[in-house]
Symmetry: D3
């Protein structure tokens, strides 16, 4: 099967790390295509960034719908941006990395903590957790004030910080699992896992596994109500690439 993983920001180094993570945890017969749009923010660290990334994300999905044959899509940003819109545009499963990691964590742990980037995204994550429905399983959100690009620039420094936050949340917040809450942390799960005695979830890997599961089961996105194809209409002044 083919899964297209879209990094919605425009930082190719990060796309590469996401590819490694996705590929590393995928099944041998799964082909991972990993791309990022040509236009949009270099990182996503707030609501504005998120919405600015969505057109590029949609473009990437529509391009694939028209040209290539893939079986599912993964959106590789921990805010799960634009998910519902993408689901309208295709019958293939579209999977978010945050929703996937949170749901998988509940199968092996009572409560989980999310270790993520800067404090400003706390509200974005809290609303996401409510939408997913796992608020009763959340131990805490830890925001050690890292930026997304820090992970590209200082692997060792970030690793230390993530390990420290993970240890703290296990000890102080009754956390029983750790979710690394940023696609830029792809590759860190293995490192953090070595240092702590609870399961550590790579969110990109989580979404790839959910995508594989749904494709294997043959289920597609329901098109009868919430995720119907968009109504036909005119889009003024917009690149045709952005239109289904």
């Amino acid at each position: 099967m083919k899964i297209k993983v879209i990094n919605p920001n425009t930082t190719p180094e990060m796309t590469k790390d996401i590819y490694t993570s996705a590929h590393c945890f995928s099944r041998p017969d799964t082909e991972i295509l990993c791309v990022n749009p040509e236009r949009g923010p270099v990182t996503i660290e707030g609501f504005y960034d998120e919405y600015m990334a969505i057109p590029g994300l949609i473009e990437e999905l529509l391009k694939t719908e028209k040209e290539a044959k893939v079986d599912a899509y993964v959106v590789a940003c921990f805010g799960d941006p634009g998910l519902y819109a993408l689901r309208e545009l295709t019958e293939k499963p579209v999977i978010g990395i945050a929703e996937s990691a949170m749901m998988l964590a509940t199968f092996v742990a009572g409560k989980f903590s999310i270790v993520t980037i800067m404090p400003r995204i706390r509200m974005m994550l809290e609303e996401l957790i409510q939408r997913v429905g796992v608020g009763h399983r959340l131990a805490s959100i830890r925001t050690p004030n890292l930026t997304v690009l820090d992970f590209m620039r200082d692997f060792e420094g970030c690793k230390k910080i993530l390990i420290q936050e993970a240890k703290d949340t296990i000890e102080k917040d009754y956390a029983e699992a750790i979710i690394l809450g940023c696609a830029g942390m792809a590759g860190f799960a293995t490192e953090v896992q070595k240092e702590v005695n609870v399961p550590v979830f790579d969110a990109v890997a989580s979404a790839v596994k959910i995508a594989e599961a749904l494709v294997d089961m043959g289920v597609k996105t329901s098109k009868v109500l919430s995720y119907k194809f968009p109504e036909k209409k005119e889009f003024k002044g917009m690149p045709s690439l952005l239109q289904p």
Copy 2:
């Protein structure tokens, strides 16, 4: 004071009706600027439409931030699209019409019903209601399968349908107030109000009144956490107009 009302779709007839509604309910010393972006979908009837409208919406706000002097913004689409992003981009209050109407309804009625357009937006509204926090005050969501443009094309026909739905929900769902859940319904509230004995809320008017209230109080959007100005960063391949 000056309030800029942005219709996030690209249908000027609708912008005109929204202006009428906003102007009609505003205070004499409030100046209403009412615009729509040049690019984007002609109507918003789903998640894809919503996200496609947000760049134009942001452009309109940023243009104003740089050029004109306004005191608050109103986003005139009942899905409250892009609200959090806009709040990051300015210190001035940014108000959604759905959140405004729902909150104002709770001051004069036990339960309210939303009469809106087609069934596919039900999930969008349910998630919005949860975010606002008034789920316990909702009697029902009524979706008489109208499109946004129907309101432009057939005033009398739509009026009849809205009145019938309003009467039905009062009688069968214990509704004590009606919210007209689409910016395209601007102008219908007065008509429906004549036929039913419960308060009927025009959502655009509701948001204008909330905007006036906040401006009068001198409060601005909090910039310490969730709505901080966006992080400085590169946006590849994007019009400079879209960047704060």
Copy 3:
């Protein structure tokens, strides 16, 4: 328009401060009538006080319904006492200061904190927050153990304490807005606002603005179900003034 603000306790100095706050934030063409009942507790600092204040409050409203012409009522106590009963007695909007401040705060901040008086009212506020529906937006309730009359007696001392609590809750509880949770704090918002970088809400002002909004929109209290006029019946041994 005319708004009658009723301070439900019997301390005229406080009524005066409430008037100043209401008047100061009202529109030029809004006339504020501000009164307190002749009978009832001098302050409201618990459930018993609250219920003992309600008959006087109802008397004040009914007196106005029979004699004067006003457009809306504001109940100026942060417990929002007797609101539902008052709504049964009139078609005019009846607005609570707590519900108003909490709702307005959500338009400009992710999470808000309430800085109020003594710890014993914590449960009263928690139940009120649930009724309003904004529990997911509450950062914390701060109870610095002040009494209502402290605000009349020691402006400077109280000001210092409120500023300190506001600063603490911003720093420690992720608060992004402050609500001053007592009608006795009318007048302090401006002072606290000078010292902190988040919006500070005067609750009396908030309710006046909501009242103005609803009157401008022409909506009235729904009389079809929850807030129908009281059933006709005998009230034994009660002053006729208390009967609708």
Copy 4:
């Protein structure tokens, strides 16, 4: 032990029925005192009635606190009026009939329905159910549009209606227990029970049993925070009987 049951309305016939119900289900060594205030509404059928009944209710409790020796209080109105205020005024348990019936029903049934009086009290009951916490156990609220005095005037007619509603809710709403939601229905439980195959709860009886339980256990109302004795203060123009 002695339990004082206070009917908060001023209809002595109803007080008599409440006494019969309380006495009939109490233990042989429990003495039931059953009274109603001299002043207040003859029935409670809305928020205004409720608040107008509370001063008389408080008077009755305070009179007893000063004169007689009782072990617990029961407030015999299904809106549980003034409960928190009464708890502030005494160390003895103060028990509501609605909260008692709802909690006891959960021990013997998956879901329960409340059969009560007129539709207008629906919101009052919904808020009460949320405060008690048993919303997930509620099958439905049935409001056959009876007034409280109907139960005094037409026993047979009311009996038929209650039985019909009970049967309907078992069959259509998955109800597994019935709560008769009005103190005026004291005496009807036995009759309804004969006709339906699910447990039927008399609310007055439920509260008497909870009161007996708490007195036997020797627990008293906690006075450290929410239910502390009222703060000492002046109450202007109020009968001394109303002051603790």
Copy 5:
């Protein structure tokens, strides 16, 4: 009346203490039968222990159903194990000690804390609290890392720890009542009560009082849906004693 209290573990010393507690708080004309199964874990300190105790518990109930005449059952373990299954097997009320203590606490206190054994049962209690519906009344769960058998072995040591935890939770968590959250703590409530100024609930006593209440009221377990008698079927390789 006769109440059978079943200690679901196999430690007779604990059964004795449970009996003392049940007997001590029961009415003079209530006969307490207190037993434990012959097979099963010596204590219940986790999910596995709980499920392993349920067959013995069911055996004890069925033995009684066939032989002796009792009026109600109490399950004396704070996890309320197997309650729903037992309710299917008999028409007599089956009462859990955790649900009883939590509900009774809400009648006399704003918020309560549970002082229990080891941290691992935290999730078990949190899910139980959600099922009962009193999450909004919980101040905290305190887990001082005691085992169930500690209470048999070191009364004085445990007493000190429980008193310390109770004092801490009153001071730091706004607790207004204490529930001793383990049947092994039967007998400690009186001791803790002497040292703290809030009501302390013995959970076994709480359940006995609820059982007495329901029996006095003549209500039985509803057999129309959730708690119908089990479907007739074959149970392979299981002792006939375990089959209804």
Copy 6:
């Protein structure tokens, strides 16, 4: 990898169907072991049945832990019986079929309905849905009054009923996906899928896919708190096979 699927009832024909379903949707390199205990109820249709099945289920797991080498366990009953206890007994993931199907459904549909067996299990499913956290995504629970063995006895008859219920819930309840809520329905998903235009979830298949996902990711059950290995202790009169 090897996944052991345990049918917790003792009907080998059903075990065979479960095997077929598990095998059919598993990856080529996944080996499915499918067994049922030798003792326990022939079907699970209520709480008593559920608890009676758990010892056999535990025995099956412990036998495997001691003898064979598997990578994960699936419990194939839609009540997800004994899951938490099993998680205490092993480090390998233990997956329930109900939780798996509900979570996977949320990735491709706004709301899902569960079509299951008889009405009496409604409460069991409602509590399960709350524990999983997806109550806001539930359209309805449909209980066409089938028994588990009906699926073994009358394939065509059951198929018709399931298809009719699925069509009804799509049309009337806004369902966008169907979950077949009984392990006995293994094999029916494909048939129902042919007749309806929304995704249909086989619950056994769902759990196998989640198990594969977690094994591929290398995560194990967290052993630090809720799912620690059971405390060492004596189990009186119990087969050693049942002890870890």
